[in-house]
Symmetry: D2
Subunit: 342 residues, 4 copies
């Protein structure tokens, strides 16, 4: 059986990445692609790399007959996303890639995103989409909220450690190095090749990055107490990739073994041998996340480094993984492609 898929917000990078992935999926077919401002254009005009595919032209959301759709990916900006999803049929399966349904507390949402939430019913219903940790809920969900790409990376390196209580909860530092596609296809001066190439810098320093809302919610829930990490992202001159370097206090061997056990049966989370650390180049274009642990020369301090592709495992790959669960497909279907190297 072939599932009919709609993608809203198909003219952005995560939309294009969804198309790329679904193209390899044996049991999904793309029935509708919406992009309000580019409605009427062919996908090949907007993304020439998809020229070979037989795809519907871009349309407006209002033109889609959702009764013919089995699952809808929503790759719209936050705020727009809730406004659209609020009005979609309540029986439609939805994987949202925006930030709108990640935070369960409406006040926290408003604090981090600056606007009040206007789809509170959907918000309450939404399941947090970090597949490896919410698998059963996702399987049963109608609306799944894809995580932030930084939020996913940070949680993969830290969640099992917080759950197991093997690290000091008051002293966690996440230094993250993010490739530029995470900022989307947006026309900003600092995203220009001439500005970014050959240079790199921190941004949203000091605890102001919105993905902290997710870290706070998830880590505090795991620990049963407030956990606030320090998180500093850096913009790196590369197109895809997130590298999270986590500095934690605890026994390095316990840290390693905790992660090893947690991810033993996970198809997409690959633990490196103790003492090795990953590269973003080795996960690019794939749904894999590589994690390594090293003991610092200072006792009871460990460095945990995780790498994933922000557009795949950090976003559209995660979304497809969740959609597989929601549609009763094998979870890894269409997602086992090897990374592109070099």
């Amino acid at each position: 059986m072939t599932h009919k898929i709609a993608i809203l917000g198909a003219s952005g990078y995560t939309g294009a990445e969804l198309v790329r992935l679904i193209a390899e999926h044996p049991n999904m077919t793309i029935a509708a692609l919406a992009a309000e401002r580019k409605a009427g254009q062919s996908m090949a005009q907007v993304f020439p790399h998809l020229r070979h595919m037989n795809l519907p032209d871009l349309c407006k959301i209002s033109e889609i007959d959702f009764s013919q759709i089995d699952l809808c990916f929503c790759a719209l900006p936050h705020k727009t996303s809730q406004e659209v999803i609020r009005n979609l049929p309540k029986t439609l399966k939805i994987v949202d890639l925006s930030a709108d349904f990640r935070l369960r507390d409406a006040d926290e949402y408003e604090k981090w995103y600056g606007n009040p939430h206007t789809a509170l019913d959907d918000q309450q219903e939404a399941v947090y989409g970090l597949t490896e940790f919410y698998r059963d809920d996702i399987r049963a969900a109608r609306l799944v909220a894809g995580t932030g790409c930084n939020a996913a990376t940070g949680q993969y390196v830290l969640r099992p450690l917080i759950s197991a209580g093997v690290i000091d909860l008051d002293d966690i530092i996440l230094d993250m190095k993010c490739a530029v596609s995470g900022a989307g296809r947006s026309l900003k001066e600092n995203l220009l090749h001439a500005e970014l190439s050959e240079g790199y810098s921190a941004y949203a320093v000091g605890g102001t990055h919105r993905h902290l809302g997710e870290f706070d919610q998830e880590f505090s829930a795991l620990a049963g107490r407030t956990v606030h990490v320090q998180f500093t992202p850096h913009l790196i001159p590369a197109n895809r990739g997130i590298l999270a370097t986590a500095y934690v206090k605890g026994d390095p061997t316990s840290v390693y073994e905790t992660l090893l056990n947690a991810y033993e049966n996970e198809p997409f989370i690959q633990m490196l041998p103790f003492g090795e650390t990953p590269s973003t180049h080795h996960v690019r274009g794939s749904n894999f996340c590589h994690i390594g642990v090293v003991a610092d020369r200072i006792e009871r301090r460990a460095i945990v480094v995780g790498a994933l592709d922000n557009l795949t495992k950090g976003s559209s790959g995660q979304a497809l993984q969740n959609a597989n669960l929601m549609l009763g497909e094998i979870e890894t279907q269409g997602l086992m492609m090897a990374p592109l190297f070099p």
Copy 2:
């Protein structure tokens, strides 16, 4: 039925690319991976991006039981390749990715490569592996010689034009822009990031690049007379891609229509609308070749631009496409993945 595959020279970029592609192929399984100097290592050590795959460790060629192999990819350096292939079972299907069996004339081989050919029987038997133009021969072949990556690109933009006689044969210029992986995983100063990034230059200028041997052989055979093109490659700070800008003399509309007709039913060759030209970014990681034609402001001059990924369509993807034919598989099997963008 699953075909058992061996890859000789698995520690280079084309070897890794073969593994990446075969991983998606439903009817092939990798039975042996050879790399003389790295024998004994796991593939994950040599190429960490393949860590998630269940692959045999690297071995020596002499350790492979070729009676258990259905098809062997040979991704060794030229000269080594002929020495190895000479001693393989004469019943073994082989796709060679080196330069050793591309030229049918042993003198031409020695002229361009500097060493005499020592596997003349195999050389006579070998079929030139430009799939779209040697499809029937390849289907029946035991030994297929993969083309040079530049040679493939140049032929895709020019072969139909030379066959149809719509361009001046004495005035063809191929200005090519090549990404760095075409030079292989070799430790040379000019391939260092610090030397290549942020700079670009021509190389092998003046008609000294070895792929000219292929152009001369193929174009002259098509035309029934000697055809010598001018070919200047340039090294560009990117990892994958070849962009060929061909300057030809002839009616631009005829040029376009000739190419359009020639590639009408080709799954991997995509003609752009007249007046548009392709980008390497839109074919990266895929087996597609995009071709565009533009009329110059000067009458009867056309510019034909072709783009492909040197490691995929220019090398390992082509090899797999040929292997599919040799094994009776669907030609496009395992090769329809969309490009990686961005």
Copy 3:
């Protein structure tokens, strides 16, 4: 004596490059920096790399007292530039970096730029700013029109050959590879890091690039007859640099010697040994232009390759070189810095 300098359009890349260069000039001081939309900001806010300099804040053009200015660099967009310059004091020395005064024929200007020229008196007075070929005129000029960066590169490799009559005038091909800063600090999708990095393509193919107006004007004047070259620019994933590969028909030795003689005493034009070709990486950040000549394997065909930095020798460095002449300074003053490598 210190010359007081104003820069109009100081918030763009050529404006910033002028500041960088003038900072090293012993006899110039920056008295005014104008940028209409950013007036009131400090230069450090707009270009943090200039933070260490003691510079005036950005102002509006109308706020500048031009009676206190010895020379004004005008780095505004074309069309705006003529409107501004038309209203500047007629005694003010001006180096314009826009396209507005490059073409001597008003019809040609309108043909290539789409708008009628509205400062015809200034246009008639303007001297074309390719220093090495208009040195005496520039020394005496009040208004100098900086050349296009591609136009400069193409002329350096071709002018002496056209003057000397050593090449076929009807068969000249200029294949150019341009770095992204040539497009300015403009927010366009194809200039984003995510779109440009790892990909490259041709643009303005077929004789539509505006710098052809300059080639036509200059080459035809040199030859005493109409000369139309073919010119195809390509956008390369690098920040600075232009590489021009010129395909010409003529005796390669004569071609080389003609260039060697022409540039024998030029401080900024460096001829490589016969058979060698340059890299943009070796001129980056400098006012040098490297030129090489290679004989093709086909008789009487030569390839001439030139490299320069579009922002320096192609634009702001050229402008300063001209300003030195106009102000009676040593021509090379402030311009002999070595390229930045790596």
Copy 4:
């Protein structure tokens, strides 16, 4: 008066950078350039970007008449450096760029570098070359040991804080992002463009990087007790730059003011406004170091970010700054050039 300069190890990146800088120095002239394996070649062959300069050919060290040299830069690999310097005239002023004379304790040297020190007298005499903190000693020194480029960056962000006692000495994390030229012109697989571009990773994780020897020595001396920081370098796909993100515990305002006071009169150390952080792109090719401080959302935690160019302020620029002091020149002479942006 013009000082005659020799550079030993002129075929590496720091050697070339010294030549680039000295070219702009009004009172220095390059009298000898040594590179053992490339002796006999011209500098233009080894570094074509220096082609325009009138430089002596590369020679062997043994061919230099050191009685004619006023100051010698030694840009050799560690271990080689001490063997060479041991045999130079004891009256010759030397700035060493290797690691050989950075550590005052011979056992520490052997611990970090694996070989015993064989020039102990010179080692005792050497002055540590972090100019801003050893200015008077350097002025009087005969032999100055240039710092590690990471070591310099880390010390600029931390020294004043450790001296002033405003941060917790037991909990300092230095997460560093390093461009590739810091690894030198060495042929290693991970330095290839194809391996590094589009990917990034940590290296020397866990307290194994040799520059920790310098941190331990300097920070412990400042504090009067043992101070061990955590230091994790990351390799970034860029050619020049080091970005140090320091996580410290202390009052952010005190942290900022301490740094502001410390660097108030330093020409090369630029403090950004509180709350802003620097980019490597804004110091590239210059001798400047930009430093910013941000308060974390967690109380009493500050993030200090420093950026410099590893080849200039981190190495050859520092060396020239020290040479200026040793020769009685103005400290900033030849070093005030603006960064290259973009």
